[in-house]
């Protein structure tokens, strides 16, 4: 109940699902309780350093921080090797808590070296605790959860920064001695929150472990700094991430200098005014970052996806620094653009960029994540800032010597050019990592199963299997038919030793007069070779030549006419033999015409042999009869196989049957399946044309046929507009069924309910088949299968994959259907979607 109220309250600012309320609030508080003391500490750090040593000594602080950070990273890595994650984080918090108390005491002593140590320590405080926070976030959430909640959780930092800065501002003049105890108190609350988080995580892990049969859910990470570096170096993805981090920080450093340079020139009134300006500016920036994080980060990430969001930050900085560069070139620099670009930089860096960067870590394994974060966030961060400072120093040394230099303005425009170049590299890296991110998410998803029909096609030669059965069955029926079936096996190079063994089983039952036994010997059989052996190749050649002799056709004509005319039960086998024999002839052989009569034979056995021969001869004239056989349940499969063998030649004919509303529905369905087997672009076009008008009875078959064509040949193209229309249509059907099933207004009867459930399932499968026609099919299959049978994480990665691949209009349509939501919420979203469809239709009308 309390959780529901909490979720309801939070639902205004964050999209939470049941069970997520507590952890979201805990993580928000964790971030809040490490940033609020840091902003108190930061104010004290700057004030104590500047008043004690002056700004001319700041490079010393930068240098010491950079050097010490390397040692700290190594030390932190070693601790991580020895301690479990929970203990490491809590130990770190307790360590920094005790340090604050220590510094409180040290500041009382008034020793001159204390501000230097405090400066370096404060930077380590921020880096270590913030890095640990994000590591925990990555451990707790999967990509979908993180994407939804990151805005809310991250806003804890902005709020903490605003509060910390505000408290420092208020208390500094009245009770500065309370600042450090206050910071320690806040950090102490942070320790309590983190302890609660780990307690909760332990309980959840135990539950998960129980569900997983006692297997631990996460391996414990035990690595050193070298491992962290090696892990990053060996992964192209992490190298890209490092490159982006470097570019971001170098750009940020250069923009910071541009801003400071402009402010120094434009803000008059001495040090107090400057301090006041920076104070207001920092507060305003953090407030902007807070609002941005709280209100815009999640919608932007959800709306633009990771790839789009990655580009927003560099794009804004590109425009800003480009504008400043142009203004510098024109000699009209004012304070406003400098404030805008700096505010954008800081605001976006602490909100959108931070969140997106953290999301980029999510598809990699927890161990890789932990190792690389240590290297990137702790070491590379400092290194990049140092690199930015070096570039700046070199530029400032070079630019005053450049011709036409006008003091600061001259340097600003050159720095703008450098920044634009680095942003170009940054954008390039962003594109690359966006692609790699999608690939990593795909790699997280395993295909659960193959389509049954594909498996049969791949692993089983159905024609061959049927022929073996026919051969065995014909043994006791007719020696001629048996011989012909055996010859057919030879003709297809399928009379393997295994097959010989199979068909010669219980040969004692075969009549001695049958020379079928000969096939079962030597090269064409099982016995020793003799001079009398008949090579299979010779046999094939001879039979083919004989049957196409005019004289053979003449000799057999009378016999076949008599046989076909004899409709007695005893003549059935003779007609079967005739039907089989015609299949060995050429399609232009005069006797091949007899097949038309045999296809109409009243005996299904005769008809079946005739169908097989029609498939072998592929005479156009037999197609209408074969199509009519599709109506017969006993012969449908054989007729379908026969028509498939005609291939693209009959695509147009099949499309005519498919489109004929007056035709038998089963026949039209089979026509769709045959077009699928034909599998050409033409067949796909016919099916696509029929798609929108197929009607309820046929739509599943047409979509399935298109899906099969896509599976067989990825080069075939499908009309995007039609497919999108059908995706909307299927989604509407799904929503309507879901609403009807769960509206609760009028409970459905059990059978009706079952029908709806099946239709729901069919519609969902249809949606994904349709998606597979215009997006990578393999990815859509993976997404569908993992949605259907996957674990919570599989579902999350499926959605993440879809989020990264699908265009926005399609995403908006299908996400209410596929998203992992409580039923009540899903029904609500489906209702909204249906209302949207209705209003869209009305306005279109």
């Amino acid at each position: 109940m309390a959780k529901n109220r909490l979720r309801s309250a939070l639902s205004h600012v964050v999209d939470l699902k049941p069970g997520e309320e507590v952890i979201a609030v805990f993580l928000f508080l964790y971030f809040f309780f490490i940033t609020s003391p840091y902003y108190i500490i930061k104010s004290l750090r700057n004030a104590s350093y500047l008043s004690g040593l002056g700004d001319e000594k700041l490079p010393l602080a930068y240098f010491l921080t950079a050097i010490l950070m390397g040692f700290i990273v190594t030390f932190h890595s070693r601790l991580q090797v020895r301690l479990p994650r929970s203990r490491l984080i809590i130990f770190s918090l307790v360590f920094f808590f005790s340090n604050i108390i220590l510094f409180w005491w040290l500041f009382e002593r008034g020793w001159k070296w204390v501000p230097v140590v405090f400066w370096v320590w404060a930077n380590i405080f921020a880096i270590v605790l913030v890095t640990q926070f994000w590591i925990l976030v990555n451990d707790v959430f999967n990509p979908r959860e993180a994407k939804r909640m990151i805005g809310f959780i991250g806003s804890g930092a902005q709020l903490g920064a605003i509060l910390g800065g505000f408290l420092a501002g208020v208390l500094a003049k009245k009770a500065s001695g309370l600042l450090l105890p206050l910071a320690a108190g806040m950090l102490g609350l942070g320790i309590l929150v983190v302890s609660a988080i780990f307690k909760r995580q332990r309980q959840k892990t135990e539950e998960t472990d129980k569900e997983a049969g006692g297997k631990p859910s996460r391996p414990a990470g035990k690595v050193g700094f070298r491992d962290a570096f090696e892990t990053t170096r060996k992964s192209p993805y992490l190298v890209l991430l490092s490159g982006i981090m470097m570019a971001t920080l170098v750009v940020s450093t250069l923009i910071d200098w541009q801003f400071n340079s402009i402010v120094q020139n434009k803000v008059a009134g001495g040090e107090h005014n400057l301090t006041s300006f920076f104070g207001y500016f920092n507060a305003g920036t953090m407030f902007f970052a807070f609002l941005f994080q709280l209100l815009l980060t999640s919608p932007i990430i959800k709306g633009l996806g990771i790839r789009g969001s990655l580009l927003l930050y560099p794009f804004i900085l590109f425009v800003g620094t480009g504008g400043i560069g142009l203004a510098a070139l024109a000699g009209v620099i004012t304070l406003a653009p400098a404030i805008l670009i700096k505010a954008s930089d800081k605001g976006l860096a602490y909100s959108l960029n931070q969140s997106v960067r953290e999301l980029l870590y999510i598809p990699i394994s927890p161990e890789q994540k932990y190792k690389s974060k240590i290297f990137i966030d702790m070491f590379l961060n400092r290194f990049a800032k140092g690199l930015g400072a070096v570039i700046l120093a070199v530029l400032l040394w070079l630019v005053p010597r450049a011709p036409g230099n006008q003091g600061g303005q001259g340097a600003i425009r050159y720095i703008s050019l450098i920044v634009l170049a680095i942003i170009a590299v940054w954008v390039f890296l962003n594109f690359r990592i966006g692609r790699e991110y999608a690939n990593l998410v795909k790699a997280k998803l395993q295909k659960q199963y193959e389509r049954g029909d594909l498996l049969v096609d791949q692993r089983l030669d159905v024609d061959f299997t049927k022929l073996v059965f026919d051969t065995v069955e014909s043994k006791n029926r007719s020696s001629v038919l048996y011989s012909m079936n055996l010859f057919d096996l030879i003709r297809r190079d399928k009379l393997t030793p295994e097959v010989r063994k199979l068909i010669s089983y219980r040969t004692d039952e075969i009549r001695a007069a049958s020379l079928g036994g000969m096939f079962e010997q030597t090269e064409t059989g099982l016995g020793p070779q003799t001079e009398d052996e008949l090579s299979e190749d010779v046999l094939k050649k001879e039979v083919s030549e004989i049957m196409n002799l005019d004289v053979y056709q003449d000799v057999m004509k009378d016999y076949l006419e008599k046989t076909l005319a004899d409709k007695s039960a005893g003549a059935e086998v003779a007609r079967m033999e005739a039907a089989k024999a015609i299949g060995f002839m050429g399609s232009r052989a005069p006797l091949a015409g007899k097949l038309e009569d045999l296809l109409e034979d009243e005996s299904p056995d005769v008809c079946r042999y005739a169908i097989l021969s029609a498939a072998a001869l592929k005479r156009r004239v037999d197609v209408p009869v074969l199509v009519q056989k599709l109506k017969s349940p006993a012969l449908r499969e054989d007729a379908m196989d026969a028509l498939r063998k005609f291939g693209p030649r009959i695509a147009g004919t099949m499309s005519d049957y498919l489109a004929d509303r007056g035709e038998d529905t089963e026949l039209r369905k089979t026509a769709a399946a045959i077009l699928a087997s034909i599998g050409t672009q033409e067949a796909a076009d016919y099916l696509s044309w029929e798609l929108t008008g197929a009607g309820d009875a046929l739509v599943d078959e047409v979509i399935d046929a298109l899906d099969r064509i896509r599976t067989a040949d990825s080069r075939v193209r499908f009309p995007g507009e039609t497919i999108r229309l059908m995706i909307s249509k299927e989604t509407r059907l799904y929503c309507q069924d879901l609403v009807d099933l769960h509206s609760g207004v009028q409970p459905l009867e059990e059978s009706a309910s079952r029908r709806r459930e099946k239709r729901l399932s069919d519609s969902l499968w249809n949606i994904f088949k349709l998606l597979g026609l215009i997006y990578p099919q393999e990815d859509m299959i993976k997404a569908y299968q993992n949605l259907k049978v996957g674990t919570k994480n599989s579902i999350a990665y499926s959605l993440e994959l879809l989020d990264n691949i699908l265009e926005r209009d399609i995403r908006d349509v299908i996400f209410p259907v596929v998203e992992d939501l409580p039923l009540e919420e899903k029904v609500k979203r489906c209702r909204n979607l249906l209302a949207g469809f209705r209003s869209g239709r009305d306005s279109a009308g």
């Binding site: 000969m518 050649k541 001879e542 030549e545 004989i546 057999m556 005739a578 024999a581």
Partner: protein
């Protein structure tokens, strides 16, 4: 290929020897020899394959042409002592349904009466 004709009463027996194939055509083919016998009024013909080593589709064509010619004149043509492999080919091509095939010459001779 060598072909010798024997007569038993009004029955003509052709003893075939060697290979009956397209690449080994002699001046006078089996069909021509059969037709000569038909022209001379014979209507009962036996083809003896006992000494035939090989027969190809051309050879089968000769047999069938002979069968048609005999049949069209109301006569009978029978085959004796064909090899297993030829019988196999005849089965696959369904010629066993049309042609009269006997294992022994004696049986074939008796069948005319």
């Amino acid at each position: 290929m060598r072909i010798e004709a024997r007569h038993k009463n009004d029955i003509v027996i052709f003893d075939l020897e060697g290979e009956i194939k397209r690449s080994d055509i002699t001046d006078v083919t089996l069909h021509q020899l059969v037709k000569e016998q038909l022209d001379s009024g014979k209507r009962k013909i036996i083809l003896n394959f006992d000494a035939v080593e090989f027969i190809d589709s051309f050879g089968v064509g000769e047999i069938l042409a002979s069968y048609i010619s005999t049949h069209n004149l109301g006569g009978k043509l029978k085959l004796v002592k064909i090899s297993k492999k030829l019988f196999l080919i005849f089965q696959v091509t369904m010629l066993t349904k049309v042609l009269d095939i006997y294992e022994e010459e004696e049986t074939a001779l008796k069948s005319f009466f």
